[in-house]
Each structure stands twice: as C-alpha cells, then as structure tokens.
C-alpha cells in the first residue's frame, strides 16, 4: 500500500480508508509487540484491515479464529 506506487506511497499524510480505529490500534500493537488480541467483536474488521495491509500473520490468525467458532 505504501510502496505500491499509487497515491499513498507519495503522500505525507495518508488517509487509510476501510480500517476502523480499534483495528488499527490492534495492528499497531502487533507491529510493536508481535502479539495480537483477537475477540469475537473485532475479528471481522481486523481480518479486513489485515488483508488490505497484507499483514499475513494477522489475517491467518483471524481466519483461524473464525473457523474455530463456526
């Protein structure tokens, strides 16, 4: 997203659409700590955000979480 060559990779301020604040907070925590807290309340949004940002580990964790709860 930030290296792909579209607008985001050129802007100083990037508006990230499609990611809510809570998910972003979980993702940033993950980036610093390597840990991610998944709950039934955040899993769907977190999955979508991780998919867009191509954070493969979180995406897998979310899909695993949801599969177990089906």
């Amino acid at each position: 997203m930030f290296t792909g060559g579209l607008n985001e990779s050129m802007q100083e301020r990037v508006v990230i659409r499609g990611v809510d604040a809570e998910s972003m907070s979980v993702i940033i925590d993950y980036c610093y700590t390597g840990r991610v807290t998944i709950t039934e309340g955040n899993v769907q949004r977190l999955y979508a955000a991780a998919n867009m940002l191509q954070l493969e580990y979180i995406r897998r964790a979310c899909s695993g979480f949801m599969t177990r709860r089906l």
Binding site: M1, G4, G5, L6, N7, E8, S9, V15, I16, R17, G18, V19, D20, Q44, R45, A48, N51, M52, Q54
Partner: protein, 766 residues
Amino acid sequence: FANKGAFNSPQQIILLRFQVWQMDIDDESVDRLWIILKAAIQQILRKDTGGLCFSELYNIAYMLTQQRRAMKMYAGLKEIITQHLSSNVKPEMVDSQKNNFLGILYKTWSDYLVEITMIEDIFIRMDQIYAKNHGMDSVFAIGVTLFKEQVLSHSSIKKQLQQLLLGMIDQDRKGELVDRENIRNICKMLMILSLDGRSLYEEYFEEPFLSRSIKLFQSESRKLLAEKSADKYLKEVEDRIEEEEERALSCLDISTGERIIQVVEQEMIVKHMRTIVEMEISGLVHMLEHTKTQDLARMYRLLGRVPGGLKLMCDCMSSYLRQRGQLLFSQEKAGLNPVDQIQNLLDFKAQCDHFLSESFNNNKLCNQTIIGEFEHIFNLNTHSPEYLSLFIHDKLTKGTKCLTEQEVESYLDKALMLFKILQEKDMFEKYYKQHLSYRLLSNMSVSEHTEKSMILRLKRECGFQFTAKLEGMFKDMSISTTTMEEFLSHIQTVPISLSGLNLTVKVLTSGVWPTQPQAPKCSIPSIPSTAFEVFRSFYLAKHNGRQLMLQYHMGWADVNATFYGSLQKVNDPESNAGGAQVTRKHILQVSTFQMTILMLFNNRETFTFKEIQQETDIPDNDLLRALLPLYWGKPSQRVLVKEPDCKQIKKEDIFTVNDEFSSKKYKVKMKLVPGKKEAAVPQKEGEKTRYRVDQERKLQIEAAIVRIMKSKNRLHHRALVTELTQQLQGSFQPSSAVVKTCIETLIEKEFIARTPEDERAYVYIA
C-alpha cells in the same frame, strides 16, 4: 470513497460488510463502481497513477468480490490487460526491433511487472475468494500469461529475442565485450514468465543455446584432435569448462550451468576420451613415461567427471604398468643382481606412488590398479621370494654401505610393501631364515635392533606363527652368549687347556635353523676338535639328554698366518706365530672347511688334491667350493698356489702355500662363493629350498583339508577349495593341481571319501 454512491461513509460500509453478509447493492451501483475500477487499471497500465488511492480501489474491489461480482471483474480485468498488451506493448516492441531491442524489451517487462503487482494488490480479495476457489489463475499469473501470449509469442519478437541472445553469447565466447547484464535480465524475465516451471526459458533460450553449443563443441573437438596433442586438448577442455561455468553463473539462469557442463563433458570428454587416453606420443602412456604430473592430474580431473572415464584411464595404466614392470622385473633377467632388480621395482613403485598422490588425488581405484599390477608383476617371477629376502639381507648386512638407521628402516618399509603383495610368503620365510642365519652366525648383522624391527613388521603382517622360528633364532643367539660366558668362567676353574684357541660355540636348536640333519663330514684338526670336546662335555653336563652336532658348513675361523716373503712356509694357529724371519702377518677369516685345509700345511709344504681329500674327509662339492677362493683370484691374493695353474682341479694337482701373498689389510676375508653375490644362495640351494617348500605345503594343505572336513563333515569340492584358499592365503596360494593330489592322498589314507551319490563331494571318515 471519493464518489460515495449508495453509501455515506466508509465506516458504514465496513459495518454493513461485516454484519450483513448477504446484503446486495443494486446493479447500477455495481456498474458505477466497476467503471471506476476499470479506469484506474487502465491508468495504472498507462503509468499514469496520479490521484489513484490504493485503499479506495482496494475497497471497491473487495466489495465487488463480496457482492459476487468477481467473475465479471475477472473477465473484465483480463480483457483490459489483453487490450493494453496487444494494442500498446506489442506494436511498440515490433517497432523497436532495430534498436536496442533486448534493452527495451527488458525495460517494458520490468515496468509491466510493477504495474501487474499494483493491480494484484488491489485485487487481493478476488484472488483469495474467486480465483483460488475456482482453480483459476491468480492476477499475477494472468498478467504473466498474457504478456507471454500477447507479446513474446509474436513470431518476429520471439525470433529476434533468440537471435540476439544467442548472438551475444557467441560474442561473449569469442571474448568480445558484451552487455552481460542484458543477457542476465532477459534470462531472469524468461524464468519469471515460465511461472513455476522453466518451460518458457527452455523454449526461448536454453534449448537453442544447448544445441548450438553442441555443434560448437563438436567442431572445436575436431579441430583440437587434429593437432594430436592430448595435453593441449585436455587443457582446452578444462578452460572451456571453467569458462562455461563462469558464464552460466554470471549471466544465465543458475540451472543452466549444470546442463551446459554436461554438454561439454559429453561432447568433448565422453566422445573422445579413448582417443585422448590412447593418443600416441602424447597420451596417458607418454605422460607416465615422461613424468608429466600436471598433465596426468588434468586427465584425472577431467575423466573423473564422466562415467567410465576413470576406468578407462586405469585400464590403460594397467597395461602400461604390466609391460613396463615385466621389462624391469622379469624372470629372463636372471643375470641381473637381485638386489638391483628389487630396487628397480621399488623405484618404479615410488614413481607410481608419486603419480597417485600428485596427480590422482590418492584415488582408490587408481591405487588398486597400481597395487594390483605390482602384485601381478611381482608374483609372476618365481624368484621373487628369494630376491626380496636377498634385498633385505643386503640392507641388514654390515658392510661397506654406510646407511643410517633411518635409511635402513625406510628400505625395510618398502620391502614390506612388496612382502604384502607376495603370494609365496612361506617360500620367503625359508629364504629369510637362511639369510638371517648367515647374518647371525657370521656376525654380519647391522644391529640386533634393526633385525628385530624387521621381524616385528613380518609378525604384524602374518602373525606370530610366521615369525616364531625367526625369533627362536634370536633366542638361541642370546642363550649362546650366556652359555659361552659360563663356559669361559668354567675353564678358568678347571685345569684344561684349549691350546690357546678362542672357541666360540653357538648352540642352534634343530628345526629352527636351516641346518642340515646330515651335515657334511669333515675331520677337523685336533686342536679345535679337542677344544670342542671340552665344550661338549661342559654343555652336556648342564643339559642332560641333549645332543650336539657340529655344523661344519656353517662355522668360521680367524686364522693367524705368517708369510715369509718369497721364501717358504706358513704357520697357522697361534702356536707358531712368532718365527724369527717374519715378514708379513695376516689374520685370515675363513670357513671351517678352509681352516681344516690350511692347517694341513702346518705339517707339510705340498699336498695333492687327492691327499687333501683324504686328510680332510670333506665331501667333494664342499671341498671344491672351499678351495677355489684360496687358489683362484688375483695372483697376489692367493693363499695357495696350484700346479698346474688353472681353475680346473684334477686329483694329482699339487697345492703349496703362496708366500708372495700380500694384502693391504691385516685381516683378510676369504670369500665363500666367488663369482656370485656374497652369501647368495647358489642355484642348487634355491632348487632344494623350492623342493622343501613344496613338501611342506603339501603337508599344510593336507592338514587344512582334514581340519575343514572334520568340522564340516560333508563338503563339495568347490566349497572345499574356497575354504582352503581362505585358510592358506596368509602364506601361499594353493594350486589346484596340488590340492587334487592332496585329496587323492587323503582318500587313499582313508581320512576322507567320495560320497557315493556325487563324485565331486567328500565326507570325513572319523
């Protein structure tokens, strides 16, 4: 969303998307969103990305996927890319064929790759949900495949690409400057275009490259072979391999390295290796003959790369070694000094070992070949056991050679190498015993330490049984020394005179030494014989029940001799040594027989041969052998003069003392067997030894057969022979003819019998 369409805020979309999965949006909205997306893709492909927002495009694609519009998107995307490639990229490439085609192609490709990656990122959800579940290509794969179909497979582009690429490699091979970066880039592109495999790379580049290389190497080989120089050829091939390896590594796909090297190996080595190895004047034999260590090493390296190459080399080396070895060490060369023959063989082995370590990297097969050939050469000559023993004898005998201990040890090590490959080890033992007994009894051994270190080597190789007798000989020697000390102190205490004689007796255990049960007769003069009788009674008093037998043929004596100028007379032992007219005094070192002969002349001036014969009682053969060195040789060095003066002896020939005898040395050694190498076993002796060994072998074989049959009870002939060979290998190789006679003997003696049902099987008779 820039254009919000049906939704008010992104936040809302997300909520809807996650919580109400099945909610549809109307077709109109879908179309509008698709138009936005389509325009964005076209912009990306035109490299006009200004104003495009990734998260926005991503969200649209995401939503359309969720809304089950993926199929439409998928088809649409394919169409847009196809359109772009066929109407923009392809014509551009066709146009630029004249000018820096490969450079432009690569640039176009790498730009395209970036664009496809951007598009891929946008369509992640479609790849995940739609393409994957329907077994369809991912966006990236579509991009690659379309590029291949739309651009590269255009015939003129393909042709141009191949021609240029191969042309550049040709130039590179010729050493011209080419843009290797360009080659590497194109190869990389072809590999990516092959997706997971390497099919496109193979089709567009590798296959034509390899087949072109085959032709090149073939013509190169032909040209080189015409020069008839194996060393040059090999050098070129080695250079070629190195060059191709380097090229593949630095500008082709890495997997081509192995393949192109295989082509070189096949075309330049496998197809011509026989010609190269057998090439006259420069092939393997030439290299071996002229010690071309480097060239041999190169041949080894190159032929070692291909199957059968090393074998071919070894075969060729085999026949060369055999030929050369037989020239060096053959039966027909019997005239040559045995010690030199063994030395020649060892030198040759050293040369081969040099090749083995310097050229052949101590390769196992090469080593086996060399050892195998030496074994063949060495065992072909029936004199080998004797010669080898003589060689060791030569090194262990005190004499004029001034060898340091290390030198002697290294000779012994080399001799042991030959011993290891010797088949008739028992034969060797017989000779070794004879030579050792000579060294020990005549006090000619270099040192006991060295002797023992040789015995130790033999023991390690063949076990203690093999050396038991040899060690027995050493034991006898040391016991004799003690006995003599005791004897000397004994005669001090009793009033017995030895008439001034210095007696040294060595008591040899029978069976351990190569003594003869019936020693040749000899009636030795009374002084020494009385002295010996004194010893005999002393010894027998100590060791009850033993028997002492004199071995005249093995003894020796130091005799004082006085020569009276041209006058007359010799006085022998000590008693008369102090005459008034002394001119020259010498000590003569002689054998017991010679002493007996010389002492006759104390009593009379002349003797005929017949008289000597009668007086001494020595058998003719031994007598002749003892006499010859006394009267035949340099005139001034003769102790006796014979009338008439010729080598042949007749019964009436007259012997007198030669008073003109002169020698620079005070101590003069009489050679035992002139003409032959000192201490060499005369031919007859050699034959006798062989006969004795053959008899002993028969006994050993019979004993082994009985042992085997006793344990197995029933055995087929073939199995018996195998077992037998295994048991006896340590000392000799039983010949099948001898084995058969031994079996016959045992059947006659009723130790074993043939089975009634099978003639070729035997049973043990208890």
